[in-house]
Symmetry: C2
Subunit: 312 residues, 2 copies
């Protein structure tokens, strides 16, 4: 099966305790599509300016990403974001956001993309997210959504309309609390489920993720790293691994979601290990399998047999 992603393709400038990087390829749709490209066919819908480098298009093509939906706006400038990370790289401050060509972005879905079975609405204006969903010829098998506090606070009604229409929501703890108006994460997930989506994935950075799927909770650990370098794009790489695996396996059972969460965590952990797409863009099959096995080592233990007791 295949995945369609609508989001940003951008140039990022970051300052981290380990160094700086100017105008490196980034954006939610870029991280997502490269991460998911290891698992599935993926098409990007986004806009860039005529300053967008051909080597960056080549990089995405090299990963098999379908860029026919990547609009190049002549005379426009590519979206730019810059930020600075704290000493422990757990928090960041945005220094500047230049929307540029993104300010007037109106995503258009090609005919051949209108029946894609998996759709990821990356973090953009919820009105645009809704317009993408409306352009689909048939309801995709799975629609997943990401957003941010900016839209939760500024376009609450529009965002709620999208949330009501999707199957799966990716949020961080602060976003979950802002949407639900609750502090406790279980109550947050229950609140959001009442709005529509039946799967809520709460991303907790180095503390891993919590997946709420119906009445079940699954926890995937964060991968302990000696030297986390740059968390930019880790959330979108997580989503790329998660949705990419679901698309490849077609397994939308609870066990499929469990594995998807671990594979998302695998891809997120790679993203943090280098600046930009350096690591996530240069993985081998063996790298991915080995990291998945490392997650198994990290979190598996001997369960109780059906009739066994811990105390006897």
């Amino acid at each position: 099966m295949s995945v369609l992603v609508v989001g940003s393709v951008a140039y990022d400038s970051v300052v981290t305790p380990s160094g700086n990087r100017q105008d490196s390829l980034g954006g939610s749709a870029t991280f997502f599509s490269v991460a998911s490209s290891y698992f599935t066919d993926v098409s990007v819908v986004a806009v860039v300016g005529d300053d967008f480098k051909s080597k960056d298009i080549d990089f995405m093509k090299k990963h098999g990403v379908d860029v026919s939906g990547l609009e190049v706006c002549q005379g426009g400038k590519t979206f730019r974001w810059s930020g600075v990370y704290s000493e422990d790289v757990n928090t960041r401050e945005t220094l500047e956001t230049q929307l540029n060509v993104f300010a007037d972005f109106s995503p258009k879905i090609h005919c051949e993309q209108k029946r894609t079975p998996f759709l990821f609405l990356a973090n953009i204006d919820p009105d645009l997210q809704f317009s993408v969903l409306s352009q689909m010829d048939e309801r995709p098998q799975l629609v997943a959504l990401d957003s941010m506090n900016y839209w939760i606070e500024g376009k609450n009604c529009s965002l709620n309309k999208v949330i009501e229409s999707v199957d799966l929501l990716f949020v961080d703890e602060g976003e979950a609390r802002a949407i639900a108006g609750e502090f406790n994460l279980i109550r947050c997930a229950e609140h959001i489920m009442r709005l529509g989506p039946q799967t809520i994935v709460i991303k907790r950075g180095e503390h891993g993720v919590l997946v709420f799927h119906g009445s079940v909770i699954f926890s995937a650990p964060g991968f302990p790293l000696t030297n986390p370098l740059d968390p930019t794009g880790a959330g979108d790489s997580f989503a790329g691994g998660f949705i990419g695996y679901l698309s490849a396996s077609g397994d939308l059972s609870l066990n499929g979601f469990r594995r998807a969460a671990v594979i998302g965590s695998v891809m997120g952990s790679f993203a943090v290990e280098s600046f930009g797409l350096d690591r996530i863009g240069s993985l081998t099959v063996a790298d991915i399998d080995a990291r998945f096995r490392a997650f198994t080592e990290l979190s598996q233990f001997q369960p109780l047999d059906e009739r066994e007791s811990l105390l006897n």
Copy 2:
């Protein structure tokens, strides 16, 4: 096998967002011994004043805890601690610590306790911890240690001498960083291992625990609770489940430590569900097995077979 614990038996007063509790039974040795009593024989070495209620001694006895080493100091007053928890119960502020009879505590180990194979040195003055270890007739099979920032800052040399002599250290993130002088938790664990203990358990509250055992890292999740009531004693209940299970199973392999971490997390999660020892002191075998199975549900996923790949 059996466990010996040296620590505090106390009366705690807490203020939490869900309510208050005055002078309820607490203390590190109390939580530890009650939690471990479900798994193994356990003896307490501690001191109380003559204000200590006979019903509280009966409570410990009812759990099979050997209280022959609980010294009652005539004319003295039992150790008291009071604190107030933040809105999310993740942090707390100590309002008052009255050492009382604990100020002159000098633990004496009975003859029949001097060959106990498992020893837990709960958070007390490191000089006292060292004196307990010195009183043992033979080196226990496993010595585990807990401490706090107060001793890390105030009695660093004494504490280091104890750390060098133990097999396992329980710490929270802040304590690990203070001991190691490093921020990254992997580096902290490596640093502490060079001091002596080969197993470092870093407790992260609602985010679970990381166990560093030789070159292996194991992560047990925090148990998601809708209504965490009072975290007092959760760390000692965790240690009680952890060491209690190791003692009962005699399994000091890597797999034993993995299970011990989950069972510790089971007991810690019960401790948080009520004030003081209300829940941890009234569990059934079925409760403990069911919570262990819930941890399995929470964290297990389908691993890769030996020759399988995620991408094919």
